[in-house]
């Protein structure tokens, strides 16, 4: 509890904690999933689970964009970087993501020109500065990031830049949530909706979760109190027999999202028929590609990509972690063969990955102790391998 005790609103947190406990029906277990790496980070960093009754479990879904990139796409990107006169660019988070043939860092060490950029606009600047090279931007991220890529392409078109293209790996959150809801592995009672993704898409796209699946969803901010408040709002809905979409983060998230951003994405990109997610397999209409109109900015049309498919390492259980079926520490290589320094799976690479967040804040040992001390540990019928 030391983390929250340092927080200025520790009193409010304790008050919310008591209200949350008061809403839980005796004997009932509650399981809520958050699908945002920032939320995962807050939960572990502040030890929020200590503020929840044992009957409330928070599970972490596929909310980390780096984590869901399949190994084959990393290999394809490296194949692109190996083409003559190509400069590959991407966010710093991508550099250590392992592919079947190593990471961007490994490829760079072997002589390719791969550069970290902060913004796709920086990648475009690299293209302006290197007219004799072709600059590829490996675009990753959910709806939060896709508008920036789209705006950059529109800028490149307006400037008539011809040596710039996008290796598009943008994914969309709704099909991933659908896949989780359709999965028999996990019974959920509600969702904590992502913060920044919702800034772009708004709250309406989540309505099917409440109306068709009967699960409440509360879009949440990133502070410890925001998360606790959202858990409270979910429990109130359940206690009152409601399932609705509510917005706890209204101070940042407009109900209808950012229409300018959505329009830019819609102009430049379209849904792919299907896309592979690491650990989750192929999900229909779950990712974006460049529209035909912007074919000249599409790295997949510019170059003959190997289209590699690589099975995840056998020891890695990122898939189960991404689906919320396993807690990070339940993966058998967690903290032993797989660490942030030598990650086997993507969840250990990004600071937003559930495994890295758990590892960095040293909570795994405490959680184990806590679990061991429970008289009747909660078990989920997953069929997945457990240690």
């Amino acid at each position: 509890m030391r983390f929250v005790d340092e927080y200025r609103d520790a009193e409010k947190a304790r008050a919310l904690s008591a209200k949350i406990a008061g809403l839980c029906e005796p004997g009932r277990q509650y399981k809520f999933m958050e699908v945002c790496g920032g939320h995962t980070h807050t939960i572990y960093k502040h030890g929020l689970e200590d503020y929840l009754p044992e009957s409330v479990t928070l599970v972490h879904g596929p909310g980390c964009p780096v984590c869901v990139i399949p190994m084959g796409r990393v290999d394809d990107a490296i194949a692109l970087a190996e083409q003559p006169d190509v400069i590959m660019t991407s966010f710093g988070d991508m550099m250590r993501v392992p592919g079947g043939r190593g990471s961007f860092f490994d490829s760079k060490a072997a002589g390719t020109d791969i550069r970290m950029v902060y913004s796709p606009l920086d990648a475009l600047k690299v293209a302006r500065q290197n007219p004799d090279k072709h600059v590829v931007f490996m675009a990753i991220g959910f709806e939060t990031t896709a508008p920036s890529t789209a705006m950059t392409v529109l800028r490149a078109e307006a400037e008539g830049i011809e040596n710039f293209s996008i290796f598009c790996n943008h994914v969309t959150i709704i099909p991933a949530i659908k896949a989780i809801l359709d999965s028999p592995d996990l019974r959920l009672d509600g969702f904590i909706g992502p913060g920044h993704v919702s800034t772009v898409i708004g709250c309406r796209p989540y309505e099917f979760i409440a109306s068709e699946h009967g699960k409440p969803l509360v879009t949440a901010g990133f502070e410890p109190l925001d998360i606790l408040q959202s858990v409270y709002m979910l429990l109130v809905q359940l206690a009152e027999g409601r399932s609705e979409v509510e917005n706890q983060y209204g101070r940042v998230v407009p109900w209808d999202g950012n229409q300018v951003a959505l329009k830019a994405v819609g102009e430049v990109m379209e849904l792919r028929p299907y896309f592979e997610w690491r650990g989750l397999g192929f999900i229909s209409h779950s990712a974006l590609r460049m529209r035909e109109k912007f074919a000249s900015f599409d790295a997949e049309r510019h170059f003959d990509l190997p289209g590699v498919r690589v099975a995840d390492p056998k020891a890695c259980q990122c898939g189960e972690v991404l689906k919320g079926v396993l807690k990070p520490w339940e993966c058998k290589v967690f903290g032993t063969a797989c660490t942030p320094e030598t990650p086997i799976g993507t969840c250990m690479v990004s600071s937003e990955g559930a495994c890295a967040a758990y590892y960095n804040f040293g909570r795994f040992s405490r959680e184990r102790v806590r679990q061991a001390s429970r008289p009747e540990p909660v078990t989920i019928e997953t069929g997945a391998r457990r240690e």
Binding site: C64, Y118, S119, R128, T145, S148, T199, E223, V252, V260
Partner: protein, 93 residues
């Protein structure tokens, strides 16, 4: 890359009106404000910055809370800030 960083708008850049100069933790950098054309920010407004683009306008209270969240994150935030500071999107190539 997924972190939103709060910045205070100092000025809209006269020659590139889709760019604004913002103050992030005392350092001034250019960002793109093209996603906020429905409600454009002006000097003194706070925005949440994501990979070089202002994604939403926020109030000062939210900016302070967001900054506290980021500072609590530690290394990941420092990396993000360092990346932002290396970004110079206003300079023509």
């Amino acid at each position: 890359m997924c972190l939103g960083i709060p910045g205070e708008v100092i000025e809209i850049m006269p020659e590139q009106p889709d760019l604004a100069k913002v103050d992030v933790s005392g350092v001034k950098r250019a960002i793109n404000i093209g996603l906020l054309t429905d409600d454009p920010p002006g000097p003194g407004d706070w925005v949440l910055i994501h990979v070089g683009f202002a994604l939403s306008k926020i109030d000062e209270e939210e900016a302070r809370a967001a900054m506290e969240f980021l500072e609590g994150i530690g290394q990941a935030y420092e990396d993000e800030l360092e990346a932002l500071l290396s970004s110079k999107i206003d300079e023509k190539g």
